[in-house]
């Protein structure tokens, strides 16, 4: 039963979801602070190659993950500087970050093109638990990063809605003027969570590279996962726990075309299934970029607006 292809497809959906959750969680923290960072795809790619190069030269996956996360924070720092300090247009800066990150990844990755990942992150072993029908492969055959990611998403919900710093974060995204009046620095909080978000996105890119990709190939490593992550935040209504379910659903859709082919199910064209996550992404991005985006369910009310004190 546990070798049933639908059980294995579901198990794989959880695996694919890990990068999606990490990247979407990064975007969620950034957006909750009122900063829209469309550069997720660029950060993912640059972090992926950085983590690959670091893991390859150091021989340690953990060094790779740490470097990937740091590079993610660094790129997010560029976005924070442009949009929070210099108050540039967030959409323009985010898009620039995608192009910049892709170019940087190609440049850094040139000598590594086609190289295989020497050390792959292995799934944890839970002995007899993996033999539980259906649940075994779906729940008990993942690596520590996947479990950590899910725990992190749940912890984030608690942080956002049950702690004082979480309240400040939400307040900065909804009504920065009030936070400012309280004597807190809006800019500092926004920069802090943009950096944290970048680090999470970077971690997602690194894990995708080190645990999921067979080899580094420029531009074919992330396949638009960064854009899907942005859409996921919208669909999850900016709630970290809903993010988990959305990511698993999207992960299932990404794997489905191949399962359908392997099972000779041809009445649904596989290309149609392959298209679904991207269509959903398109709809979400349009919703996110239009002027009335703050009316979306759960959207931070000042999302995308620079905070300017002297204009109050």
């Amino acid at each position: 039963m546990n070798s049933n292809i639908w059980v294995l497809t579901s198990a794989n959906a959880v695996t694919i979801a890990t990068t999606l959750i990490l990247a979407a969680l990064g975007a969620l923290f950034t957006e909750r602070a009122g900063v829209l960072n469309l550069g997720v795809e660029g950060i993912l790619l640059t972090s992926a190659i950085s983590s690959f190069l670091a893991a390859d030269s150091s021989g340690s996956i953990w060094v790779g993950l740490a470097v990937g996360a740091a590079v993610g924070a660094l790129l997010a720092g560029v976005h924070a500087t442009l949009t929070v300090v210099l108050r540039a247009n967030q959409i323009v800066s985010g898009l620039a970050l995608v192009i910049f990150g892709t170019g940087l990844a190609n440049f850094l990755g040139k000598p590594a093109e086609g190289k295989t990942v020497a050390t792959i992150i292995k799934p944890m072993t839970f002995g007899p638990l993996t033999r539980i029908p259906v649940l075994g492969p779906i729940v008990f055959e993942h690596d520590i990063i996947t479990y950590g990611t899910i725990a992190l998403a749940i912890g984030s919900a608690w942080y956002l809605f049950r702690t004082r710093p979480g309240l400040e974060l939400r307040a900065v995204g909804d009504d920065p003027a009030t936070v400012d009046a309280q004597g807190l620095s809006v800019a500092r909080i926004r920069i802090r969570y943009t950096l944290l978000g970048g680090a999470l996105i970077g971690l997602g890119g690194s894990w995708l590279m080190l645990a999921q990709s067979a080899a580094w190939h420029q531009a074919a490593t992330t396949n638009g996962i960064g854009w899907i992550a942005l859409a996921l935040v919208v669909f999850a209504g900016w709630h970290p726990v809903r993010l988990i379910f959305g990511a698993v659903l999207f992960g299932f859709c990404l794997r489905l075309p191949f399962t359908l082919q392997a099972e000779q199910i041809t009445f649904i064209p596989s290309a149609f299934m392959q298209m679904l996550p991207y269509v959903a992404t398109l709809i979400a991005l349009i919703a996110l970029s239009r002027p009335g985006s703050k009316n979306l369910r759960g959207a931070p009310k000042s999302l995308g607006n620079p905070f300017v004190r002297d204009e109050r």
Partner: protein, 384 residues
């Protein structure tokens, strides 16, 4: 003051984009201009990069042989998409005075033909091409064969010979008779390979099936791995591929399955899974063509190499291929080389069981080059 910062921010954002464009110059050349002493200027347009351990890597090995033999420096242009955008690349190379231009992907055909017609002084060579596809009858722009530019040749080889041999290794390796095949696009080249492989499999394992999954990409390790894993999840215990990366091998190794690669001898990517692989040796063709162009001729025919002339080869065997299987394959290989055997020899039925070739009948090359169906034993759709 506020205006100043807005300007500064805009400038900084703009510089990001400019910097990115500089960094993402992916279609960049890796060599300097050819040395002045050469008597033929050669360029090659790659779909990927020479370090891909697959298709482009194998062409690079041939180009290196050419450089060695003729003492010329070949201009490489990497990462050129094989769509209409490639026309500008060919145009530039011809304008720069390159006399011989190789291009290594199927999709370069139409753009290359357009540039060839404008630049009769240069010689163009289209790998995996088929001139038929440039004519009206094949969906192209030219009325008929005589209307085609006379300075455009195609080159490819009978990979089906090596595919058949690798099929024998796979047929012997499978325990449950279920083999998976990760394939790129449903075009004749790929269908031919799948069919030859399946005939090889069933020559030693008559009840075995070959299940095909289409990825619709030549080169994407993430998608190739997903497709390979889904096939393994559905129960196949041997994987073959018509893809440019080693992702299927990595997936097979992780599940304890066996793997027939393609393009290059890359057993180190998945040493436990490795059986063998159909591979290419482009060097002799590149050298021969460059010498002809240096002498003032442009070979404009449709070159079709094989195991006999060495363009098509079989990689070394993995450790799980036993001696008996190896000698069986060597025997068939010798028969292919001396002409006493061809993979597409009847009796062969099509996928639906209807006869295609009568017993002893050999397929014509034309029928092979325009193949659009599966043979018996293949599971999946030949339409993609």
């Amino acid at each position: 003051m506020k205006k100043f910062w807005k300007l500064a921010a805009a400038a900084a954002a703009a510089s990001l984009i400019v910097a990115a464009c500089g960094g993402s110059d992916s279609a960049s050349d890796t060599t300097s201009a050819p040395a002045a002493k050469t008597d033929v200027k050669v360029a090659v347009v790659y779909i990927g990069v020479p370090t891909d351990k697959g298709w482009t890597y194998q062409h690079e090995q041939g180009i290196l042989q050419l450089e060695q033999e003729l003492g010329v420096e070949v201009k490489r242009v990497e990462n050129v998409k094989d769509d209409a955008t490639s026309e500008a690349v060919f145009e530039q190379l011809a304008a720069d005075g390159y006399q011989l231009i190789f291009a290594t992907s199927f999709g370069y055909g139409a753009p290359m033909a357009r540039v060839a017609a404008k630049h009769p002084e240069a010689c163009f060579q289209w790998a995996t091409g088929a001139k038929f596809l440039l004519t009206k009858a094949g969906g192209g722009e030219y009325a008929d064969f005589p209307a085609l530019p006379t300075n455009l040749g195609t080159y490819f080889g009978a990979a089906e010979e090596a595919r058949y041999l690798s099929g024998i290794a796979a047929g012997k390796a499978t325990k449950n008779g279920k083999i998976g095949y990760v394939a790129a696009f449903p075009i004749p080249e790929v269908l031919r390979g799948i069919n030859a492989f399946t005939l090889g499999v069933r020559s030693v394992n008559p009840d075995a099936t070959v299940q095909v999954t289409w990825t619709k990409t030549w080169f994407d390790p993430t998608i190739e791995k997903q497709a390979a894993e889904s096939l393994l999840d559905s129960g196949v215990d041997v994987l073959a591929q018509h893809q440019d990366t080693t992702a299927a091998g990595v997936a097979a190794q992780a599940k304890g399955a066996k793997w027939v690669g393609y393009n290059s001898d890359v057993k180190e990517a998945a040493p436990d899974a490795w059986l063998t692989a159909p591979t290419w040796n482009w060097g002799p063709f590149y050298i021969k063509t460059a010498k002809a162009v240096a002498a003032g001729n442009c070979p404009a025919d449709e070159a079709y190499g094989n195991m006999k002339d060495g363009m098509v080869t079989l990689a070394s065997f993995g450790k799980s291929v036993d001696a008996a299987t190896q000698s069986l394959i060597e025997e068939k290989k010798a028969a292919i080389i001396d002409g006493s055997f061809a993979p597409f020899t009847g009796a062969i039925n099509k996928q639906d069981g209807k006869p295609w070739l009568k017993a002893g009948e050999k397929a014509e090359l034309g029928a092979l080059l325009s193949m659009d169906f599966f043979v018996e034993g293949v599971v999946g759709s030949a339409k993609g």
